[in-house]
Amino acid sequence: MVNVINSKKEQPAKNQVDLVEYLLERKRSTLKEIKEDFNRPEIQEIIKKMQLKDAR
């Protein structure tokens, strides 16, 4: 039984629709995180290093 996490607590998914909705929501949230990572200083640093390496 997969535990579906909502904002307050973990609840077991009741059926396949529940499970799929949860999996898709989780996936979309991670894709959003990836976009937001762009603003993280440590990620910016990696991006800059990669760009500098290419410029050389």
Binding site: M1, V2, N3, I5, E10, A13, K14, N15, Q16, V17, L19, V20, E21, L23, L24, R26, K27, R28, T30, L31, E33, I34, K35, D37, F38, E42, I43, I46, I47, K49, M50, Q51, K53, D54
Partner: protein, 168 residues
Amino acid sequence: MQDNQLVYEFQYAGGHSHTYIFKTDFEIFYEIKFKEFDYFFSETKSYAKYTYEFVIGVLWNPNKKPLTFDSKISATIAAIVFDFFNKIEEPIILYICDSGDGRQMSRSRKFSSWFNEFQRPEFTKLDFVLHDKHNIQVPISMILKLSNPYFEEVIIDFKKIISEYHQK
């Protein structure tokens, strides 16, 4: 693997989600995450804590270039997955194909083609198709090593989770 001309150089940024970054020849930056998914299997299972969701997304596309086919991306993803398997003890990887834009089956075929192209004999992949509330297919795949000490249990459990939901 990183010195191979057919593979983009990648950086491990670490973090809770085991983040990797690479940049293509078209100046598109991709990020790959292996996000902990320890509650996919029952937390009482020893292998639950080794379960991760694999997610790839565009981190930055400064010139708004189209995301065209690039064989080096596939090779780089394979290199990153192998690197992750070397870093983490016996991981179990789940890949869910997003159905938001209706291209989930195409993503699934691409993922399978990628796996077949770069497969090493020590890995196996299981595929299932779930259905959402609109009866739209949502493919899910699991990759693990044949040498995983919980291999049989994981396979049975994965099939059980999927079939349990099919029955409801």
